[in-house]
Structure formats: C-alpha cells, structure tokens
Symmetry: C2
C-alpha cells in the first residue's frame, strides 16, 4: 500500500504539497495539482484513514447499541441511522447487545478508546460506567428512553399512543380489555400500561390486574399470553399487545383455541412492522416513524459532538393509530353480562 510519501516522490514534490493538493486544491498551483493527481493515480494511493483519524483525534464514527438487530423495528431505526450518518460523513459501528449491560459497556468503551466519537443507545440504560464517563457525554438515547436521560433523547409518547388504542377498543364497545405486556423493566412497558390505565379510568372502567399478561416482545410470549387469557372463565373481548411480534403470536394462540379475530375477540398490536398488514386479519396497530428515530438520533448526536446548540434536547415523535381488520365491535355474546 503506497503512502503519501510515495506519491510525493512520484510527483517530485513534498508530502505537504500532496496533502494540500488533495485537501485544499485551490492553494496549490494547477500544474502541481495535476502532477499530484497523476501520481496518486499511478501509485494507486488511498489516504490511510486510520492515520487521519489518529492525527485529527477524532474518527467520525458513531457507535449504535441495538438490543436486537433481528428485530424488524430496530432494523428500520438502523436504516434511518445509516442514511443520516452517511449524509453527514459519519460511519456507523453497529453493535448487537442483546440488552446485556456488560456487552453495552464494552461497546461504549469504543468512545473511551477513541474508536468512535459518540454513542446512540436504543435502550433505557446508561452504558457508561461511572468510572469512565466522558465529559461532556457524547450520547443520545432513542426509542426506549431513560426516565431522566443524562443526554438528549428521542421517543414516542407511548402513554398517549396506548391510551388512544385502548380508547379505540372502548369505543368499539369492549369492556374486558386484556394487555400482553413487554419486559417488566422497560419504560416502554410502563408507559404503555399507564396509557391503558388512563383510558380505562377515563371511561370509568375498572382496572383488573388479572387481565394483564407478562411478555417479552417475542411471538412466543404473545402466544403464551393469549392462551393464558383465553383459559379464564370470563375471557377478554379484546387483547392489546405491546408489540406486533407478540400480537402475531397471540393471533396464532387465539386461532388455535378455535376463536376468530375480530368476530370473537379483537386484537391490537404496537409498532406496525412490515408483517402486521399481512396478518390474517391485518393487524390494527400503532405506527411509529422508525426511520425518523434513527435520523433524529444521528442529527442530535452530531450536534452534541460538534458542540452546536440543540433547539430541543428531548424530542417526541408522532405516532399514528392504524385501524385495520383485527379490531371490531363486541359480538352479541360478548357484551356486558345480562342482568340475572
């Protein structure tokens, strides 16, 4: 691999001139510039970016901490991140963390070891151990956000979205609305559950903790949650899952129990993943601007890194209630229990 020195030798100029000819072309004479360009060509020269980064004391690389790359929602967020980063001239180091604190800390260490300039964290957890915490903190927290994030953040108003969905179900006449929740610790779960309670309270409906099922955002847990709910003596007339993946599992569980959606039971998801509209029936859900999360995260992180002021440190992105065919009015046998 030829270095700048080789080019300088070929062009009969100093290395400084080569550098200038490439980085500030207008400051060298046209003839020199041409000679350098030719030499670059014949030498097959490519600047050594590692050397450039080393000298510049920054890499223009961003670390992205993703709990699970295979999750289709995160995949969309990542797509947005990549696009925005490329546009801004930054590279992306994608790290699959499985939500493991240790692994996250390790990857966050890329900033300490100056392999990257900043971190985009897609989980509600601070990956920087108190011991080696860069100042100012080059981080942005997106999607699942800490309660008091030590950095800029971008999230959905999960509580409002869940309230809207629950109100949609209530509006259809549902009174026994179950919820299959996400991971216990997640703020997402807490906020969506809060929105669900908000809607119940607002409609004057009793909150019944036995209508809540635990889950972990996987189809398997949705399946299990649905089966458990259907075994109750008084089964719910609607199930609201905190993610589409769980709803897809729940849908299978409901069908295997011999019930129909939405005739016998309504089903709602959250996220609007690609397969939601290919479900049978297509899934009513909340659509999130996944790619926008990624773009916004990159823009804000770069602003932090380049010490530009942020107009909003904590952004809320809009959602949409997408009513498809998996939710409908309660059937004649599912309404309020007749008196007597």
């Amino acid at each position: 691999m030829s270095s700048i020195r080789e080019v300088a030798r070929l062009a009969g100029v100093s290395v400084a001139t080569v550098s200038r000819a490439l980085k500030q072309p207008d400051v060298v004479s046209p003839e020199t510039r041409q000679r350098v360009l030719t030499a670059v060509e014949t030498a097959g020269y490519h600047p050594n970016l590692t050397a450039v980064q080393f000298r510049a004391q920054r890499t223009r690389n961003l670390v992205v901490l993703v709990p699970k790359i295979a999750n289709t929602f995160y995949a969309r967020v990542i797509t947005g991140i990549q696009q925005a980063a490329q546009r801004a001239g930054y590279g992306v180091l994608l790290c699959n963390t499985q939500g493991d604190d240790q692994v996250e800390a390790g990857y966050a260490g890329l900033v300490n070891s100056r392999q990257a300039d900043g971190v985009i964290q897609l989980r509600a957890h601070d990956p920087f151990p108190a011991s080696n915490r860069p100042q100012p903190l080059p981080m942005v927290n997106a999607c699942e956000v800490l309660d008091a994030p030590p950095c800029p953040s971008i999230q959905l108003d999960n509580r409002a979205a869940a309230r809207d969905m629950t109100e949609h179900l209530i509006g259809l006449g549902h009174r026994r609305i179950a919820m299959i929740k996400g991971p216990r610790r997640s703020p997402l779960t807490r906020d969506r559950a809060a929105g669900y309670r908000d809607a119940l309270a607002h409609a004057g409906l009793a909150y019944d903790a036995t209508l809540l099922q635990p889950g972990d955002f996987t189809p398997q847990s949705g399946y299990a949650g649905a089966r458990a709910l259907l075994e109750r003596s008084e089964r719910p007339t609607a199930i609201f899952c905190e993610s589409d993946e769980m709803a897809i599992g729940a849908l299978q569980g409901i069908k295997q129990a011999g019930l129909r959606v939405p005739d016998d039971i309504s089903l709602a998801g959250f996220d609007d993943i690609e397969f939601a509209r290919y479900c049978d029936p297509p899934l009513t859900t909340i659509s999130q601007p996944a790619e926008d999360f990624g773009e916004a995260a990159v823009d804000m992180l770069i602003a932090v890194l380049e010490q530009q002021p942020l107009d909003v440190a904590h952004r809320i992105l809009p959602y949409r209630l997408l009513i498809r065919d998996s939710t409908a009015g309660v059937g004649p046998n599912d309404g309020p229990t007749p008196a007597g």
Copy 2:
C-alpha cells in the same frame, strides 16, 4: 483524555514501561507493574485504539456488506457474524448497501483506506473496482455467491433445496406447480429455478414458463405474483415462492381471492424466517442455518487475513425441508383434468 505519557509521569516510569506493563505484564517487575496499574487508575487512562491500529497497520475490523439489514434472514446472518467476530477479537462495521454497486464500492473502500482489514459480502457482486483491488483479496462471499467467486465462499445448495421442495409437492400429487421467483439477476433465483426444473423433469412433468412469476423477495411481489397466477383459466394447485417474505404476501393474495391454503392450493416458501411458523397455516419452507453462514464467513475471512490455510475454500451449508401445514395433497377438483 490522558495518554500513556501521563500515566508514565504519574508512575515515575517511561512510556515504554507503561506499554509493557499493560501488554506484557510478566516482563516488568511486580512493583513497577503495580505502580503503573495504580497510575492508570488515577489517570482514568484508556489506550487510544486509533493510535494502536495506526501503528499496528491493521484494525481488526471487518466490513459487512448487507443488501438490506431489515431483512430478517440477513439479520440472523449478522447476528452470527457479530458473535464470531467478537469471539475472535474483531469489530464489525455493518453497511446497508441496498444492493447498490456504488454504495458497496464505497464501503469496500474502507479496506483501501485501512479502516478495516477485510470484507464479508452477502451479495453476488464483487465490490472492489478493478482499479483498487487489494492483493491478496481480503474478502469472503456468503449467502448469495458469485458463479466464480474470486475469494472463499459459503452458500446453500439452493438447487438441491428447491428440487427437494418441488419433489415434496409432486409427491403430494401436484402437477401444476407455479413458482414466484426472486430478482432476475440473482444466482439464488437461477439456482432455485434450476432445482425446480430438475424436479419437474425427473418426474416427467412438462415445464410451463407461464407458471413462473417474477418477484423481488418482498411480500408485495409475492402478493402480486399470486394474484396473477390465480387469474389463469387453469390455476396452479401449488405455488412455490423463492422466499418466505414473498410466500407471506402470496398467502394474503390467495386468501383474498377466496381460496384456502392448503385445501385449494398449496404454498411453500424458502428461508424459514421467524414469522413463517406464525402464518395461518404455518408455512412449509426450507430452513437455512443463517447464523452459521455468518460464523463461517467470519472464520474464513480471519483465516484469509491471518494467512492461515483454509481446508475448504468453498463451503456448502446444509438445509432442511420443513413440512408444516401450508402444503397438502391436491383436492378432488384439482387433479388432472378428467378426459372429455
């Protein structure tokens, strides 16, 4: 950020000793080592990896060129890549290329600019322009492989897998078996179509080009392909899609046409993505060891980079025919047209 010099100053030793204390602890005296470690602690020192890479003239980073990160099959491959890379002490630069030659060439350039040591290419395309092609080529081609790859490769025996699936359908009594294909240019498409023809020929069935529909691996194209096939006067009794995502779209198309799977028509996919078993009915498909592709690619690339001999330069990974509920025998009305 403190450098090795700061640590040396604090410990009252030379920078060389600090470096040794950290990298070859057994070569410095215990007391010195202890003093250095203490100094590292109080200085909050982290080695500057950029400097290390610069000096070592290698990064221990691998570039992965992914056509579409949001594709669930690739997501699994990536998961395998990450695991294997981490185990081997390599980092991963994940690049979403959308199958764009320009973008790929740009990312492959990370090797030329020494931001990465090698490339894992998941598409049948050589990302290195002839002009700047490193020698020896630090690349591995996995999943969708070039016909004469200029580097080690890992792939499925797509032709055999498609033949197996087609034979499964023929064994069920199907005679009019349609295929919804992947992108025209892809070797995957060509090989799977070849396997389909193999099976037809072997069973003495006529090959009917009008039973082939174009597609691009998206659910949308599967939907469109299915609708087109069902409009034929003599509709097929089975549809074999070259990917599960297309099969999921096709399934919706079939249902919307008022037909049942598998009663009226059998449907098969390819890949065994997570949602395949959550389809209604669960999808018969070919399962691929996606994570193994990733791991094998990393292992082979590292062998290339570290100039270790490869026992097999071109690996074939095993598939499994997964018979679920979307394929069944032909119905009484779907058999060979009665005479007269």
